[in-house]
């Protein structure tokens, strides 16, 4: 089975959209890791980024706006053998789904959380997103954004997320390599991907990202304090793996006590049920 089989051929993204690069990087990462598409589920929310699983030949759960993470967590715990990727845009993951973002990090399911971060709402046509920079003007934020931008990496590191990375889709190879690391990592892995919206964000363009980012070098990702320092830099924005904590048990390991049997194989123990009912005699 190939990753470009069984997909929707009518791609709804604008020409030049960063989503195309993310699709390429993701498919390459999956191919290079020799993953069986039948064992992969992409769970997404709503928005242009959330259409990704329509165009990749794997299992798809295209759920509600903001709610990809709870569904992804449950899918992983119900069948720990699946590779589960929760993928959506910055509005979906950090805005509508902000509460789930926090608590999914606390749960630490072994899933990859890919966030297409273009600092703007695309599908609703150009309003501010949680990561829009202050002063960014839109048809709604007519005087410019007055809120501080949400810093997903700093929040994730503050919560001791087990894997935190950021890339820019201007560099597909680099993004692919980070995605491979994230997939291989056991535990919750956040990959925030800068991705220009060519239609609605005239500020954060390909050029802007090139000028305003740099690659992390000689960085120790096991140093949480250092990772946090890098995450709150706002002159030039670092790209790479900020933080990794390999010493955390996953949600499904703890919730299932190590049992990886898919729950669809579950059978009720009617003998125990009888005993339980009997125990209500006194």
């Amino acid at each position: 089975m190939r990753l470009d089989e069984y997909i929707s051929k009518d791609i709804a993204w604008c020409p030049g959209c960063g989503n195309f690069g993310i699709r390429t990087a993701l498919m390459k990462a999956l191919e290079e890791l020799n993953v069986d598409p039948r064992q992969v589920v992409i769970v997404s929310g709503i928005g242009q980024a959330a259409k990704m699983p329509q165009y990749v030949g794997v299992n798809m759960f295209n759920g509600l706006h903001g709610r990809a993470l709870p569904a992804a967590t449950a899918i992983k715990v119900a069948n720990p053998n699946l590779l589960v990727i929760a993928e959506s845009g910055d509005g979906c993951m950090y805005g509508e789904g902000g509460n789930h973002f926090i608590h999914t990090i606390r749960r630490n399911p072994d899933i990859v959380n890919i966030v297409h971060d273009n600092q703007v709402y695309g599908l609703t046509k150009g309003q501010a997103s949680p990561t829009s920079l202050k002063g960014f003007k839109t048809p709604v934020q007519v005087d410019g954004v007055i809120l501080e931008p949400f810093n997903p990496l700093a929040v994730a590191i503050a919560l001791d997320a087990s894997f935190v990375a950021r890339t820019f889709i201007g560099d597909i190879e680099f993004t692919k390599d980070i995605l491979k690391e994230a997939i291989r990592h056991k535990g919750y892995a956040l990959v925030d991907i800068f991705q220009p919206c060519v239609t609605f964000n005239k500020l954060n363009t390909y050029e802007w990202y090139k000028e305003n980012t740099y690659y992390l070098k000689d960085h120790d990702p096991t140093d949480r304090e250092l990772a946090f320092k890098r995450a709150i830099e706002d002159e030039k924005l670092p790209l790479g793996i900020f933080y990794v904590n390999k010493n955390k048990e996953t949600f499904e390991e703890l919730a299932r006590k190590g049992d990886k049997t898919p729950l669809y194989e579950y059978e009720v123990n009617f003998e125990r049920l009888k005993e339980l009912i009997e125990s209500k005699k006194s």
Binding site: V43, P70, A78, P262, E267, L273, L276, I277, S282
Partner: protein, 558 residues
């Protein structure tokens, strides 16, 4: 007297729960039928809570206003009950708690007796013993149950409590003439189980193959979450307390997608937060089981009280048209069997299924023979996919074979957008119409599996009462001696078939009895059948109907 109603009244934290737990078991194991229900305030300490325990020679399953014996466990415990205290009510307790109350009184210094034995906290055991002696329960059963209750606290504590209980028992016996409680004991009752509605829902879920529970605590639905958590390790159930109800509902839908059988347990406001995900279940054709324990709204309402006010919520929740099923169990047995069935029906038809209970049902318990497990099956309706698997293939009854990711050769694609048969997003108008029709056809198919309403009482009725859910037992008791009156009780409230109007046509008068302010079910009946039930007995104070109140109201409409 063959039927005694005992009310325990006190502040939260004073030990009503302990007295209730032990006393009901002592009475049951001694061969009496028992029923217990509680009403409590939304607070951890203080206030005033009461528990009613009925003890009888026949099965009792409903709340009565009448108080035969009142046990105040603190000061002011009789104040809120003064309308229910009659001349014949026997009030038993510390002098200072009962001296200002009307009714016949027996002063029993529970605290002093307890102190003489050891500590004042044994007072509850003295009270348990006193009531056991008064009603003629078995001494050995009393000892067993006291031992069971305190076994975790060490031998000395157990022995002291037994001494306290036996002293209470001896004193209670002295007054047994006073209430003339003459009930033949039936030793077979000892072998019956004692269950409340919440436990029945929990057991039904286990019997239905539930292996995934995600919820956010909310009264009065929490007891089901607690019950399943207590037994999760024994049955391999994943239980997760979600960050909010939105996450909870999205989680169970994710779990069903991956082949688990998921349940949420919630109440009005919590369910309101789940509505969008309910709609998701409708669109992606996911099974889902929702236990919705009703309490009075709107908003926070009366958090620990009861009402049947969320029928419309369950019925109309979620945007867009999609089929659903709503069961409304009338008693503990139905709570078990219908919750079990909910999982099979959800899986078979790929629709959300509600189990609609309320605070009264989840918190009330009584003895019953148990359940017949032999006939119960966990029906798994998903398939192993082939490489050319298509999730939403159009079928005659609207049910497309449901695949599970990772099980078989195919891909399983579900989409909250309108989608084609593959599950891919589409804006093709013809496909849209075909998909809506396909989903709605499942609603028609569901009518083949209706739980028919039950007709109870005089078959040659002139007056027909129409009710649903937890009012079953109180109404049954209220009409048992009436000629020309019957009850038509619905434990499935959606879908219903318009043919039910045949019951109405035979009646001279049809009266709806509901625990809400507007007659939500009567309105639904009119919508489905065209039959307008004008006479309505409605209650929405936050308390359940009592048998006496129903008798009175029914007499008025006769």
């Amino acid at each position: 007297m063959k039927d005694v109603s005992i009310v325990l009244s006190g502040e939260a934290g004073q030990g009503i729960q302990t007295v209730e737990n032990v006393l009901t078991r002592v009475l049951k194991d001694s061969g009496f039928h028992v029923f217990a229900t509680k009403e409590y305030m939304s607070r951890v300490r203080g206030g005033n809570n009461t528990t009613e325990i009925r003890v009888s020679s026949k099965r009792v399953r409903a709340f009565v206003d009448r108080i035969d014996i009142l046990i105040p466990l603190g000061k002011g415990a009789t104040e809120r009950l003064k309308n229910r205290i009659a001349e014949k009510t026997l009030i038993i307790g510390e002098e200072e708690f009962i001296k200002e109350s009307p009714g016949e009184k027996i002063v029993v210094p529970f605290l002093n007796i307890a102190k003489q034995i050891g500590k004042s906290i044994y007072a509850n055991s003295v009270a348990i013993g006193f009531l056991s002696g008064l009603l003629g329960a078995d001494e050995s059963v009393l000892k067993d149950q006291i031992t069971r209750q305190f076994s975790g606290k060490g031998e000395d504590i157990v022995n002291d409590n037994i001494r306290a209980a036996l002293e209470g028992y001896r004193r209670g016996q002295e007054f047994s003439q006073k209430i003339e409680f003459d009930v033949e004991k039936d030793s077979s009752i000892k072998n019956e189980v004692l269950l409340n509605g919440a436990e029945a829902v929990g057991l039904g879920a286990i019997a239905g193959g539930c292996n995934f529970v995600s919820s956010y605590p909310m009264s009065p639905s929490t007891s089901v979450l607690v019950f399943l958590s207590q037994h999760k390790n024994n049955f391999g159930i994943v239980v997760e307390q979600a960050e909010d109800e939105i996450a909870a509902m999205n989680m169970i839908i994710g779990a069903w997608y991956a082949g688990a059988r998921g349940l949420v347990t919630t109440s009005g406001g919590g369910f309101a937060l789940m509505e969008e995900a309910l709609s998701l279940a409708g669109m992606i054709e996911s099974p889902a089981v929702i236990h919705l324990a009703q309490r009075p709204g709107p908003a926070t309402g009366l958090p620990t009280r009861t009402e049947q006010g969320d029928l419309n919520l369950a019925l109309y929740a979620g945007h867009g048209d999609f089929p659903r099923v709503i069961y409304a169990p009338g008693n503990v047995e139905e709570a078990f069997y219908l919750t079990q069935k909910a999982f099979n029906v959800a899986d078979k038809y790929q629709v959300p299924v509600f189990v609609l209970t309320d605070q009264y049902l989840v918190d009330s318990y009584y003895n019953l023979p148990g359940f017949d497990l032999d006939e119960l099956k966990v029906e798994k309706h998903f398939i192993k996919t082939t490489r050319d698997y298509i999730r939403y293939v159009i079928t005659e009854d609207g049910i497309s074979p449901r695949g599970i990711p990772g099980y078989g050769e195919g891909l399983v694609k579900v989409d909250s957008d309108e989608h084609d048969e593959f599950g891919h997003i589409t804006e093709d108008f013809d496909t849209r119409v075909r998909m809506v029709n396909k989903r709605l056809r499942k609603g028609e198919a569901l009518k083949k599996e209706l739980v028919e309403p039950k007709l109870i009482g005089d078959e040659n009725y002139r007056v027909l009462l129409v009710a649903w859910g937890s009012t079953l037992e109180p109404i049954k008791e209220a009409i048992e001696d009436l000629n020309g009156v019957a009850l038509l009780h619905f434990s499935q409230v959606w879908p219903i078939d318009e043919s039910v109007s045949r019951y109405f046509e035979k009646a001279e008068k049809v009266v709806a009895v509901e625990g809400n302010a507007t007659g939500q079910f009567a309105n639904l009946i009119r919508q489905v059948t065209g039959f307008h039930i004008k006479d309505r007995i409605l209650k929405y104070s936050g308390l359940q109907f009592s048998v006496e109140e129903l008798k009175e109201k029914i007499a008025e409409v006769l």
